[in-house]
Structures are given as structure tokens and as C-alpha cells.
Symmetry: C2
Subunit: 129 residues, 2 copies
DNA sequence: CTTGACCTTCCCCTGCACTGGAAGGTCCAG
DNA sequence: CTGGACCTTCCAGTGCAGGGGAAGGTCAAG
């Protein structure tokens, strides 16, 4: 199948597929005599895997590592488990950070609402910050 | 005060200060006869304000808008309140998204742990994704 | 007079995952 | 034989907030 068909089937764009190839996420495609890329339909599964990895918050570089391991014939499962564990830790940290930020902003917003002066004091830029 | 002193006092770098000036967050500084920037010590408060805005998750473009309003003599408080409200909404969305992501990853991770085959099935890249 | 710290402008680089567009080749229907 | 859809490569830009480093000017101390 040609790149446009693959892009549509796998819900992506031709630009992205060429980009993935340049980044080593897809192996260099076969070529027709005219130089067109000619893909094996199995490539769709590989792109779906990339999409699932992205949905889990992995970077393309991490996904490429996983695919490299798989392409060398080894099972990348343990590596993926470690990546997911690291993602979980990072996500927990992000959530904690955002929660604290939300509480800070809420406080700023509500704390400043009470006195309600017509304008800020001249030596201050804004009573909310 | 010169740029190095201001940078140290305001806990930033000379690079950043020149960048802020180029982005309109700081007014063009006075110059000494030799061409050195010569800052009013009040500038420290302005940089602190920028830092507080960043800590609240505002972009430099948004902070610049606030400072522009203030510099035109008007109180930016209402505008800042709106920005903070929008940030709160965005943060809530981010938290919800990250929480769902965390739950998905947790499930992937624990669900795949049980059968524990030695390797992934040949038509699958990894049992975790 | 020189050394070293500080300052100036200038342009390019970073990470991330693409996206846009130019210039040109290929293929098929009408 | 022409038009349009599709494909190729390559270069450059996006957003965000700066950072790196070159080439050169300035100033005070020794």
C-alpha cells in the first residue's frame, strides 16, 4: 500500500509517516520502481502501537527504543513496564504539582477579592499576584 | 544598577533580562554614557511580579499584557482575575486528564502482569501496550 | 600597560512532534 | 495530451522561554 492509503488507514498523515521513518520509528519502506514508498499492511499495527505509546505519555524516542528491542527479536515487555512505572511516578508528581498550583491560585484569587479597592496600590502591580 | 547586579538581586540572569526587554516585559533600560544598561532598583519588583505570574502558570505573553495595562495607568486586576480563572479551568482539565492517564497506565501495567508469558505473542509488539 | 570582570550586539541552538511549502516526478482518466 | 491526484526530496518554521558563544567595548585594580 502507498503512503496516502497507509496514512488514512492508520489515522495519521503522510508527513508524519515520513517523519517517523526519518526518526527510525518505521523501517525504511520498500519502493516501487517509480520510487514510491510501498508498505506492508502490517505497518498499521506498528503505527497503532506508536499511538498507544503516545497515549500513555511516552516520547517518540522511548517508543523507538521499545521498537528497536522488538526488532532485534527480544521481548521489550520488561523495558515497557519500567517505562510505564517511570511515567506513573512522573504523572503523580505532575498531579501533585498541579494540585498545589491550583490551591495557590484559588487562594490568591479569593484572598484578594475581599478588600476590593478600586485600584491597586501604586507600589504594587496587581492585588492578585 | 547594572544588569549583572539586577540579575543577581532578582534571582535571574543577564540573558533573561535582555530577553525580557526584547519581549516588551521590561521597558528599554536607561543607558550609561558607555552604553551599559542602568536600571532603577524598582525594576526588581517588576521582575518579581513576572516570577509570580510564571509561578501561577501564566505565559510571558499574558504577563506582558498585564504589565502593559498597568503601564498605561489602569488597574489590571480584573484582567488578572480572568487569567487566573482561566488557569484554574485549564489546570482542572489537566489534572483530570493526568488522573485518567494514570488510571489507564496502572490498569495496563497490572492487567498484563498476570499471565506473564515468557515473550510477547509474535503478532504483538508488547503485552503492556 | 595589562589583566580580568563586566558589558554590548548578534545569531544560532535547545526539546518535542510535527507542519508548510517549494520544486519536481508519476500515474491514470478523459 | 492534459489535468489532477498522488508521490518524491529538501528546507524551514511552529511554540515556549530562554541558553551558548563569538567578537568586541569599558572600567578599575595592580
Amino acid at each position: 500500500m502507498r503512503i496516502g492509503e497507509l496514512a488514512e488507514t492508520a489515522a495519521t498523515t503522510t508527513k508524519t509517516l515520513r517523519f517517523y521513518e526519518s526518526q527510525g520509528l518505521l523501517p525504511p519502506a520498500e519502493r516501487t520502481p517509480a520510487g514510491y514508498r510501498d508498505y506492508n499492511p502490517d505497518t498499521v499495527a506498528r503505527i497503532d502501537f506508536i499511538h498507544r505509546g503516545q497515549a500513555a505519555g511516552l516520547t517518540l524516542a522511548q517508543i523507538r527504543q521499545v521498537l528497536d528491542i522488538r526488532d532485534r527479536g527480544r521481548a521489550p515487555c520488561d523495558h515497557v513496564r519500567d517505562l510505564l512505572d517511570a511515567r506513573l511516578v512522573a504523572i503523580e508528581r505532575q498531579i501533585a504539582h498541579l494540585t498545589a498550583l491550583r490551591d495557590n491560585i484559588s487562594e490568591l484569587r479569593d484572598h484578594a477579592a475581599e478588600p476590593e479597592p478600586a485600584t491597586c496600590s501604586p507600589d504594587q502591580i496587581c492585588r492578585y499576584l
